[in-house]
């Protein structure tokens, strides 16, 4: 549960820092990118918090083995 909390606090600080400038400039692309990346991060962090069997992104490297170690 604490992982979700940390994620939400983190994003809250991020929004407080960056949102006003983005809203003032009315840049929709920036806003949506911010929301998409923020939610992706929050979901990953929540998956860690709830101990979901989500593979570590590092495991991707295993596809590149030579000769099947």
């Amino acid at each position: 549960m604490y992982a979700v909390l940390v994620g939400i606090i983190w994003l809250g600080i991020a929004a407080a820092l960056d949102m006003p400038a983005m809203l003032k400039q009315k840049s929709k692309k920036d806003l949506s990118a911010f929301v998409v990346f923020g939610l992706a991060g929050l979901m990953l962090h929540a998956a860690h918090g709830f101990r979901l069997p989500f593979p570590s992104p590092l495991e991707f490297v295993r596809f590149f083995a030579i000769g099947g170690k």
Partner: protein, 385 residues
Amino acid sequence: MDKLSNGVITTRQFRIIIVFSLIGDTILILPNIIGTEAGDDAWLSMLLAIGAGMLVAWLFASLAKRQAGHSLVGSALIMAGKWAGGFISFVYMYSFFIMILTLLVEISLFMETQMMHDTPPEAIILLFVIVLTASLRYGLESFAKMSELLFPIFLLMFLFLSFCLLPQAQLHELLPIASNGIMPILKGAFPAFGFAFMETAAILMLVPNLQGDAKAMSKAIRNGFLIGSSFLLVVVFMCIMVLGPEMMSAQYYPTFLLARRISIGNFLERVEALLAFLWIVTVFSKAALFAYALMKGIGEMIGLRDDKILAMPLALMLLAGTVINTPNIANYNMLLTYYYPVYDVYVYLSLPFIQFLLLGLPAVRKKLAKSREEREKHEPISEMD
């Protein structure tokens, strides 16, 4: 903060960033890997890797010249269009992302196994990521200046480490030369080549911010590679001569053990915590470079007005990606030794090489020059707002 958003770095700062990125995590993990593979011929492997690394330096310098003032991602987007270029950029971005993850995992595993056994890894990673985010938000210019500032301190501490260990160095550990044939040397040279030299590809993202002409840039890249690799060579030599090949392959962090061995006149003892500064600085510097490249690359890929807004969300993704099912140290070391160098060859060597060849085509060159002219026309306006 807005004043620094269009950061300009000098070639001297660029060189120091390259040196730090080359040393990076390599100083910490490489002696173990190279010692396991090559034994007392590890120094030969390192020399071989440096020889191959200078070829990579030549490739990166020529690629940087052909990018004509665009970044790695920017030139790929102009070259191959929105979709194919976007795919190439995505491959780069994912590789940068997992590169930062490996650095964070390394620093947390190092702290956990060597210095702070009972601290949860989340706490260490969170602190590291907070500093990383701050450096992202302050922009490239302050990061470059910080590297410039830290370099003399790094140099002093490195010399201190080397000189304090000189009395314990035993030259006979270097012999016999190549007693097990050439194969172990090649096997050791491959990861050394991958970790140190190929992974420096992220510097190509800094090309648009660079002051000075193309000649100075390629000189900075070559010199940076040379200086950084000489640091690594000294570390490998020290590890063999002071610890010996058996100890080198038995310990995960031989460089830390080196710092522990310092003992002069029962007076100068236990300076390893102080010397941990060395690799914390270099790992942080490499992580900051890759994080900056990641942020900028994504910004260019989707065409953001200000890429700095991505700093905090990306940092959260890094935090989550590091802690989620982190492999244990044995598993992680296997991943690093057997799989990561191969991945490096695909992403940091083959892809830039293909891009280098394609950027040489006359049609692509014309395109690059045209879009640069357009950008320079718009520059005064974008600086005003």
